[in-house]
Subunit: 164 residues, 4 copies
């Protein structure tokens, strides 16, 4: 479609969770997104910026302001944001207001990228395609679907995102 | 964006290659696409039809006519075709002529889906998003990019698809 | 060496931990051991019994008595026990006293079997071989090594088992 | 059991096969064994020597003499040999004659180590344990079993090794 560069902002979430036996708990670690993009043989110019490593329930207004600022100030107009799923729609609303003229796609995963079975690479692929194809605005790519970022909610019990 | 159902037509290619020790060779096998879609937790209505299991160098005009016919006759207007990479652009040209009013996305993989490291799920995610977001026409989703299906070629030496 | 059947007793531990996004935490789940044995194409007669699903720090004296009883009463004389690593040596001591005449091998994993990168299948392979080859007694197979179960400790800081 | 160092000799075989889309064929590549041992968190002193990269049907008498020589001259007394499965028993016979006083374990895989589903790490784990536990002699670790290397054959049709 085009070969404009893509900016990837990572913020944490399940997609980047790892398990530490020494603590018998999981933690968000250095982002696995660059490895996923290499495995996918992405040949576009890309830039990956790790903004934070947080469970999305812990994101503050200041964190969201930082994400919006990074998206707005970047030279790229096609932006993918990896994000925890619990408050993904909240960040979408902030970005829709603060960065209206770029194509921004939020995605994440229900199962960590480090698992043998994970939705991470598929979701990241959806986000990359949407960033290239969709009109300016904020989109959410999850559950095999591309949603208007302002018209979607996470159905925690059903384990999927649904249009509203 | 919408929740229209997606039709997936599988035709073979590297994405569905497996290795058989008994023969000490690889062969295209029953499609792994349904398993990939389950792992990706796709919550859209989808229908997967296995049309053939061929290396794309072996596809005949009759095979391409069958793919076009399956795409045209289907009730779905958003179609993903998994396909070997060597003649993917040739099939794209046939589909652009024969099925002009639907959104058709061809994709495949450079490394089989059954490998631990593979571009298959990322590419399939790109195809799903493009089928939902892009205008009617024929698209190719490979190498991290969404290409106009009539303006792309495979650069075999470089191991990627490039715009022309 | 021989084709005597092998009994596998699963008790939980990191090897069988999974991650649940709905709770944003990991839990021990239905054992992945049968899937690992199928993937390894084990052609021996085996029997897998899930005794409990516990972090090994939660194992009680009653749990250990149950493990010992299951090992003692079984018709098999070659027994593999999957177990959390934190108290694996404690269970080894109980088994050495209670079931002296069988070959019992304890193993587990530092990284869950469901991860893309995990020591689980290698460790399980070590345990299967040891159960077939070693003399009656209690053995621990971890960190690439086969230890006398009474002469080993977990070095938590170093992330490995070491002989004492 | 002990912490004697282990020597790993790699000779090729399915365990180290990769798929090359540019040629649409598989080839034996640089050995994945060191990566498997790292993933398994092996904490023993080990040394890996890549002797050759051959399908075992292509191994010559000179190749087998080289394997035997490498095993005999090495300071290590516990040796693992990764090998194609088709002529594994033939190499076992040569080693039994030429290197009678060490514990040598041959192993390999029916599915390449680079596949998502593979018997490679389990088999390598069996080989490591057998090298530490078994008496001097030549052993074959495949199909979940440890065989006397002189009393086993590959049943190609059944896809497994069986005692004779």
């Amino acid at each position: 479609m085009n070969q404009k560069p893509i900016l990837v902002l990572t913020t944490g979430g399940t997609i980047d969770k790892n398990y530490f036996y020494a603590l018998s708990e999981y933690q968000i670690v250095d982002s696995g997104i660059p490895a996923l993009l290499a495995e996918a043989r992405v040949a576009l110019p890309i830039r990956v910026v790790e903004l934070m490593r947080k469970d999305s329930l812990e994101l503050t207004d200041a964190d969201r302001a930082l994400i919006a600022s990074a998206a707005r100030e970047a030279p790229e107009t096609q932006i993918v944001v990896t994000h925890g799923t619990d408050t993904m729609t909240e960040t979408a609303r902030v970005l829709a207001t603060e960065v209206p003229s770029k194509t921004i796609v939020l995605t994440g995963a229900l199962s960590p990228a480090r698992f043998a079975e994970t939705d991470a690479p598929f979701n990241l692929g959806m986000a990359f395609a949407t960033a290239q194809v969709a009109a300016p605005g904020v989109w959410i790519a999850m559950s095999g679907q591309v949603f208007d970022g302002l018209k979607v909610r996470k159905d925690r019990a059903a384990g999927k995102f649904v249009a509203i």
